[in-house]
Structure formats: structure tokens, C-alpha cells
């Protein structure tokens, strides 16, 4: 396959960026999208140019590092991570636009690399169960009904890639935040911190500059792990419940 790539190039956070055009040839349909970019980068290095910077690591769809907007879609045309997108999803001769996540809470570091540390700070504000090492009772001391365990798991699958934010016209992090709130709040172990967790995480989310939710639903459509849109409604319910109940 022969392709034309239009790639966002930006030297650092302060510098202005622009789209640059590259031609790549000899691309196999079995290549992943990132292996196609590897091919481009090998050519750029040999030509003495700086390769395109992009975040990637596990390349098996679980670490959440890769983060490209491809032809306007977070992670591209398939519902998967960029690393699991294969070139068989494109046609010979295509022109493909490649951009970083676009959100004010995710400033660009370089080229296609953005700073997603705001997600870490949301987790730090309450996305955990306080269980210092050594304090745990036997694992079978508290049975968890299977539907609750499955609900927790379904939300715990979030890989923190940020596609939900990139896809949202408001740059909202509601899907990400709700996934963690719902994972922990449904479990008996998460109950003691149920109210403070949702209140603190939502407050941090707002402080970090993420936008509000207008139920556009783009987030759940872009999510490579299928975190469902009702996750947001469930968090809103938790938040409302907490505001009425919490003793501060």
C-alpha cells in the first residue's frame, strides 16, 4: 500500500504546531498502524529528520499509552486502541490525518504525545480503597454477588488512554472518572469511602479543566474497552446520593 500521511508536528509544549505531509510506500495490510508509523520514522531518521514522537508501549491494547486521533476519530475507524488498529482498515492511496488527543486538560508534550497526568491526579483524589498492606481479612470473608463483581469488572477494564476525553466535544472526563467510581463503589470493600470518593474525584476532575458532560455519547463510542455510557448516569446518581448523605 502507498499512503499519504498528514501528521501533527509540534516541537514542544510552547512551540506552535502544524500538519506536515509524508508519503509512505510498501505498507503491508498486516501491519499495525504503529508499525506503519515505525516505517515512516525509520525513513525520517535515515534522512536526518526527527522521527514523529508518539506514545506507545505494550502494543497489545492494554497499557493505554497509544493515543492518536486518526482521520478525526480517537484511535481511528475501528473500536480498538491505535496499536491494535491494522492497515487492512485502510485502502491503498488513502490520505490519513494523524493528530494528538485534543483537550485543554491534555497539553501537547511533542508531536503526537500529550500529558495525561490529570488522570493520575483524579485517581489520587479518591480512586482507591484504603487497605494498607497487611490489614486484609481472608479473601472469602466477604462474598461479593456475581452481578456486582461483574459490574465492577466491566468498569475496572478502563485502560486510562483518554480516548473518551479526546472524542468528547467538551473534553469531558466523565466516562473515565465514572468507570473508577462505579468499579469501587459497587463493591462491599469500597463502601466505607463511597461518598467521599465520588465527591472528591468529581471535584478534582473539574479542577483539572475537563469540560462538562452534555450526554453526546462520543466517549462511549470511542472507548476501546467498551465502558458503557450509562456509567456516567450511575456516577451522577452516586454523586447526588453523596451530596445528600455525606457528613463533612
Amino acid at each position: 500500500m502507498k499512503l499519504t500521511l498528514r501528521v501533527w508536528r509540534q516541537q514542544n509544549a510552547e512551540a506552535p504546531g502544524a500538519m506536515a505531509t509524508y508519503e509512505v510506500d510498501g505498507i503491508s495490510r498486516d501491519m499495525s498502524f504503529l508499525e506503519m508509523l515505525d516505517t515512516l520514522n525509520e525513513e525520517l531518521i535515515l534522512a536526518g529528520d526527527e522521527p514523529v514522537a508518539f506514545d506507545h508501549d505494550c502494543r497489545e491494547g492494554i497499557c493505554g499509552a497509544c493515543s492518536l486521533v486518526i482521520n478525526g476519530d480517537a484511535h481511528g475507524p475501528e473500536r480498538t486502541t491505535t496499536c491494535q488498529l491494522h492497515m487492512r482498515s485502510f485502502q491503498d492511496g488513502d490520505t490519513i490525518d494523524v493528530e494528538p488527543w485534543r483537550a485543554s486538560a491534555f497539553p501537547v508534550v511533542k508531536d503526537l504525545v500529550v500529558d495525561r497526568s490529570a488522570f493520575d491526579r483524579i485517581i489520587q483524589s479518591g480512586g482507591y480503597i484504603s487497605a494498607p498492606t497487611g490489614t486484609a481479612p481472608d479473601a472469602h470473608a466477604t462474598p461479593v454477588p456475581k452481578p456486582d463483581a461483574d459490574f465492577a469488572f466491566e468498569h475496572a477494564e478502563c485502560i486510562g488512554c483518554g480516548a473518551c476525553v479526546a472524542a468528547c466535544p467538551n473534553g469531558s472526563a466523565m466516562l473515565f472518572t465514572s468507570a473508577k467510581v462505579n468499579h469501587l463503589n459497587v463493591l462491599p470493600q469500597g463502601t466505607p469511602e463511597r461518598e467521599t470518593r465520588v465527591l472528591d474525584m468529581v471535584a478534582t476532575m473539574d479542577d483539572e479543566g475537563f469540560g462538562g458532560c452534555t450526554l453526546t455519547g462520543e466517549c462511549a463510542t470511542a472507548c476501546p474497552k467498551g465502558i458503557p455510557l450509562p456509567s456516567i448516569a450511575a456516577m451522577n446518581k452516586e454523586w447526588l446520593r453523596a451530596t445528600r448523605k455525606v457528613r463533612r
Partner: protein, 649 residues
């Protein structure tokens, strides 16, 4: 023949910290004998932890909970992305919730045997004891393990064992355990007890007056070379499988932290013990950048086969039952498809070498679920393995519910690593190594679902107990001065290395060298090794290294985000580590576990150990780049599990 192979043998190395007495009492004894640090004094101590995977994340969180000041590093943008996240199948624990005859002693026995009698009994028994506490800890953190309808935890079986002791969270067990550790760590970051440096990579160890006192690191965003000081340094930087270029490791996993520590005096043990995982998706072409593992748990219900006839290129569905060879079930009737990884991998290589492999290039075998779907129904198979099947379909564009999966072995895990004593301390006082970065628990072959167990055992329970003893004996003294000669030397060396990489301006990319050394290692130091092949590799490596420093091309500067520079610097260390791996493989003229020397096999082609000569851990001491290292042997004593030739037939 290069001088490198003329290694000398130094003083034997002994594990001075493991107590004597009954194996079941040793961990209690050690914890009692270890000195403690007064809670009020702990905050005066700073501990550096490099890495935020299962071992590093759990250690950082636990040390901070105890009151130490922790300074933690990861090269990823977030601690949640460490490669432990990709572990799929599960974590072992001797809970005996299935009442199927499991016990701490059986897990201990299985692990020593599975490791082909090249691990320490004391360490393995401790691991088995702690396994049960890990599950309790993770459940308390909210890790969503698979449960049954009664609300209790579910278990599955794994290769090399005959009990069901593996706890799992669908095919994402590593992710869920890592998020548990990450969340515990996040809580400590918020509390101000952990100072986290993300996108920061350790490039050297600072040793002052014979003790590990800090690290040299590069801020990957600004390119700034920084020094960080502490009272002890913990390396939790993972394994070195990426020396093979193609492996199931993450693209950025690397050996730099442990290799630089080795160069500063930490012995490197059993580097040739690498694990080739039997169930990975075969490669599709030259462009392949990494390999993807399919969890070994698939072998619970999938049946592995190849055509009986050579060169049979009919589609799987057209090959009748009596023309298929379910070779694992045929050769190993009692363990069948659940033999340990090394045995399954080698069997796959053998049938492919015979010309009976399937798929492009004949480098694959079938993993067939037709029988399981017929027995349990598609819905049940989907519930158990759905995400793995989806992943396979995504990568190969084939539907594994309809046609059998194709699998082939790939480098997956490294049992070798920095030599550590029972306290997990290396030969550099104050430098500890935990998780895959050390060598201690898996011998010559790791059993499935044991890496997660070891990483969390080390991080949550072992290190936080043993590091106290070191810190109590080495009270906090004066701050290290950045002008100290040892510090200045480490910084200057690092800066010079990076400057040179940028200055060569040759005509080959870092990736091209990485690929070259990787292919060499896979060819000569992969699934089957020979003296001739290893000597060939040992002659080639210095040549490649010389060429690297003549022809490497790294664009850009050091004072910026520069992924080519990061990569090139990691390749520098692979080019040295590869040499030590080959030498270790050459010197160990026996087959054991993942190390298969063709010269040492039984008449029916199984690995033949030579206990009289090689029942020891090989700990190598660095001398200089390209110069022969010094071998220190640690004799292995088996008081409880008598070494026998492994049999899974």
C-alpha cells in the same frame, strides 16, 4: 575465539541471610531476627524505587504506608502503564479453596520442580507461604477477581500443576492487580509520602563508599540529566527479554537499570535462563515490532495439534481427525496440553522443524477449541476466554470460534536477573532488586501465573520486611553531595555516552541494530542452544558493538524529548548483556528448564540436567566492556524436594 570466553572463577557466593532450620519456619525466623526501624525514624529515610509494575508499585505503596519517604520513577507517562498490566492468565495461591489437595507445601514443591531444581528452596517456600496473603490483600483493594454465583472466588488450572489454584480476572489479571497496586500508590502520592517522577528513566546507579546511595536519571521530556539520592535503592525495572528484539515485552521495557547496576558491582545471575512462551500469535512479516501472547490458560480447554503428514497445507477443517497429531497429549498423556512452558515450546519447535508446522512459513501449530465449544457451548467459552478470542481476531483477522488459532513460541520472561540474597539485596549493599529484575524464585523455568505472585510477594511483603534490617544497620547519615567524586563520575559517564550517541551521525538507526542483535540471539541463544552456535554469537557480538559505535544515527539533541536517543541508549546495554547471556549459556553445558543445550538431552529428546556439575546459580561479576567476567557460584541445596528428572508423561 574471543577473550571474553576465558572467564575466571572467583569466590563462591553464599546467601548469608537465609536462616537454617525447618524450611517452613525460615521466613518467621528471618523476620524476627531482622532489625526494625522505629516508626518515628522511618520518615528520615528516603528509599528510591525504580519501576511501578507489580513489584515496584506494591513496594512503593507499602514502604510509604510504613512511613518511609519514597521517591519513585517510571519511564511511562503514568505508573499505571508498567508492563505487568499485560499479564493475562492469573495469579497462583495455595488457598486450597477447591479442596483438591493443594497446600503451601504443594505450591512450593511444584515451583521447585517446575523450575527444574535451579531455584533456592528457602525463597520458594516463602513465596508459597505469602501467596495466600496476596489474594487477601488484593481483594481488600477491590481487585475484581472472577467469582462464582455464590459470591466466592473462582479458580482455574495452569500448566505444570494438577490442582486449581489460579485466581484470575478474565484475561486481564495483570491489569487488575496492577491497578490495585497503582491505586494504593496513588493514595500515598496524594498523602505526600511518595514523590513520583513519571517519564523519567534511570541511566546509572550512584555508589558511594561501597553503598547504593542514588541514581542518575534522565527527564524524558526536558532531556535533563538529574541525580536523586537516598538511603537505599530498589530496582523493580522488570526483565530483559527485549534483548531478543521480538518478545512479548512492551516496546520500552529494557535492561538499562539492571545492567548499569551490574556494571557498578551487582552480580548478574543465570542470565541464560529465559522463558519462551508456547502460546503467542505467530509473526506476519519483517515489519513485526513485537509479539502478542495468548494466555496459557487457553491450554486448559484448547487442544494443540499439527497434521500428521509433512507439508500438509489443507485448511484445518479439511484435515480429518485421524490425520491430526495431538502431539502433547500423545507424548505427555498425564499432563497433556498442560505441560510446563519450556516443554510445550520445545515440542512446538520440534514439530515445525519436522516440516509439520502450519500457517505462513510453517512457523505455527493449531490451538483448537472445537472440542471445548462442543462440550461447554460457545457461550461458556466466550465467558472464559472472550477477550483473548477478540484480541486474536483483531490481530489476525481470523475467527477463532470457527477456525483453530495458530500459535508459536516467543520470548516472554527472564528468570535470570540481578543476584539477590534472601533479603532481596544485591551484592551492592543498599541495592535491592525485586520482581522480574531479580533471579531468585523461578530457577530455570517459571510456572504460569507465578510471575504476578512473585512480583507482589516481593513488593507487598518481602522487601518491606527485609529493607528495615538494612536501614536499621545503616542509620541515615549526611546528605550526599552532588559534587562527590562518585556522583560526578556517574553523571559524566552518562552525559558522555549520550553525547557520543548523538555525535556519531552514522547511517544506521537504533532499531536496525536492535533487530540485528535480537535475531542473532534468537538464532543462537533461543529455544535450543549449541556450543558451536553460542561461540558464533560470541564472535559476532563484539563486531556488532563496534559497528554500532561507528554507524549509529540519532537525530535531534539531548535537551529535548527524543525517543531515538532513549532507544539507542537501551541498545548500548543490550549489546553488552547479550554477550553475558551467551557466555552463561555456553558455560552451562547442561539442559535445564528454559535452557536447552542440544548436547545434553535424553535419548527421547528431553532436557538432561547434570546436577553433579551444575547444581548452582551462576552469579557473574562485571569487569569491563568486552572483558571476561568473573563467575561466582552459589551452590543449591535441596533438603525437601529431591532433584529428579522432571516427568510430565
Amino acid at each position: 575465539m574471543s577473550d571474553y570466553t576465558q572467564y575466571t572463577t572467583g569466590e563462591p557466593v553464599t546467601d548469608t541471610k537465609a536462616p537454617h532450620g525447618p524450611v517452613a519456619d525460615r521466613w518467621d525466623t528471618r523476620r524476627f531476627e531482622a532489625r526494625l526501624v522505629n516508626p518515628a525514624n522511618r520518615r528520615k529515610h528516603t528509599v528510591i524505587v525504580v519501576g511501578t509494575g507489580l513489584a515496584g508499585g506494591s513496594a512503593g505503596a507499602t514502604l510509604a504506608e510504613q512511613g518511609y519517604h519514597v521517591v519513585q520513577f517510571c519511564f511511562q507517562d503514568s505508573p499505571r502503564r508498567a508492563h505487568s498490566v499485560a499479564a493475562q492468565g492469573g495469579i497462583n495461591a495455595a488457598k486450597n479453596y477447591r479442596n483438591d489437595g493443594d497446600s503451601v507445601h504443594r505450591l512450593f514443591y511444584d515451583t521447585v520442580k517446575g523450575g527444574d531444581f535451579r531455584a533456592r528452596e528457602s525463597n520458594v517456600h516463602r513465596l508459597a507461604e505469602i501467596s495466600v496473603e496476596i489474594i487477601d490483600q488484593c481483594v481488600a483493594q477491590g481487585v475484581p477477581f472472577a467469582r462464582e454465583y455464590g459470591g466466592l472466588l473462582d479458580n482455574r488450572s495452569f500448566g505444570g500443576v494438577q490442582v486449581s489454584r489460579t485466581f484470575y480476572a478474565r484475561g486481564q489479571t495483570g491489569q487488575q492487580l496492577l491497578l490495585g497496586a497503582y491505586q494504593a500508590l496513588s493514595r500515598q502520592i496524594a498523602a505526600g509520602n511518595v514523590e513520583l517522577h513519571a517519564r523519567t528513566e534511570m541511566l546509572d546507579l550512584v555508589v558511594v563508599d561501597g553503598k547504593a546511595r542514588g541514581i542518575v536519571a534522565r527527564d524524558l521530556v526536558t532531556g535533563k540529566i538529574e541525580t536523586h539520592f537516598a538511603d537505599a535503592v530498589v530496582l523493580a525495572s522488570g526483565g530483559y527479554g527485549n534483548v531478543f528484539y521480538l518478545s512479548t515485552n512492551a516496546m520500552n521495557s529494557n535492561a538499562t537499570a539492571i545492567w548499569r547496576a551490574h556494571r557498578r558491582g551487582a552480580y548478574f545471575a543465570n542470565p541464560c535462563f529465559t522463558q519462551i512462551h508456547p502460546t503467542c500469535i505467530p509473526r506476519t512479516g519483517e515489519h513485526q515490532s513485537k509479539l502478542t501472547l495468548m494466555s496459557e490458560s487457553l491450554r486448559n480447554d484448547g487442544r494443540i495439534w499439527v497434521p500428521k503428514a509433512k507439508g500438509d497445507d489443507r485448511p484445518a477443517a479439511e484435515i480429518p481427525e485421524d490425520e491430526r497429531d495431538y502431539y502433547l497429549e500423545r507424548i505427555y498423556p498425564s499432563f497433556g496440553n498442560l505441560v510446563p512452558r519450556d516443554i510445550a515450546s520445545r515440542a512446538a519447535k520440534n514439530v515445525c522443524d519436522e516440516g509439520r508446522g502450519v500457517g505462513p512459513g510453517g512457523q505455527g501449530v493449531y490451538l483448537d477449541f472445537a472440542e471445548a465449544i462442543g462440550r461447554m457451548g460457545r457461550a461458556k467459552v466466550e465467558e472464559k476466554y472472550g477477550n483473548l478470542f477478540d484480541m486474536y481476531a483483531q490481530i489476525t483477522a481470523e475467527d477463532p470460534y470457527e477456525t483453530p488459532m495458530r500459535i508459536y513460541p516467543a520470548v516472554h520472561y527472564t528468570m535470570g536477573g540481578l543476584w539477590v540474597d534472601y533479603d532481596l539485596q544485591t551484592t551492592v549493599p543498599g541495592l535491592f532488586a525485586i520482581g522480574e529484575a531479580n533471579f531468585s524464585d523461578h530457577g530455570a523455568n517459571r510456572l504460569g501465573a507465578s510471575a504476578l505472585m512473585q512480583g507482589l510477594a516481593d513488593g507487598y511483603f518481602v522487601l518491606p520486611s527485609t529493607i528495615n534490617d538494612y536501614l536499621a544497620r545503616n542509620p541515615h547519615t549526611d546528605e550526599i553531595d552532588a559534587d562527590h567524586p562518585a556522583v560526578a563520575e556517574a553523571v559524566a559517564e552518562t552525559e558522555d555516552r549520550l553525547s557520543l550517541l548523538l555525535a556519531v551521525d552514522g547511517d544506521r538507526t537504533p532499531d536496525s541494530f536492535h533487530r540485528e542483535i535480537g535475531e542473532l540471539m534468537w538464532e543462537y541463544c533461543g529455544m535450543a542452544r549449541t556450543e558451536k552456535g553460542l561461540r558464533t554469537a560470541l564472535e559476532r557480538i563484539p563486531v556488532i558493538r563496534e559497528e554500532f559505535w561507528r554507524r549509529i544515527k540519532v537525530p535531534g539533541t539531548g535537551e529535548q524529548f527524543n525517543q531515538s536517543l532513549e532507544k539507542a541508549n537501551r541498545v548500548v546495554d543490550y549489546l553488552e548483556l547479550a554477550e553475558l547471556m551467551c557466555l552463561d549459556a555456553l558455560h552451562r553445558a547442561e539442559s535445564c528448564g528454559g535452557h536447552f543445550r542440544e548436547e545434553s538431552q535424553t535419548p527421547d529428546g528431553e532436557a538432561a540436567r547434570r546436577d553433579e556439575e551444575f547444581s548452582y546459580a551462576a552469579a557473574w561479576e562485571f569487569t569491563a566492556t568486552g572483558d571476561a567476567p568473573v563467575l561466582h557460584q552459589e551452590d543449591l541445596v535441596f533438603e525437601y524436594v529431591h532433584p529428579t528428572q522432571r516427568s510430565y508423561a
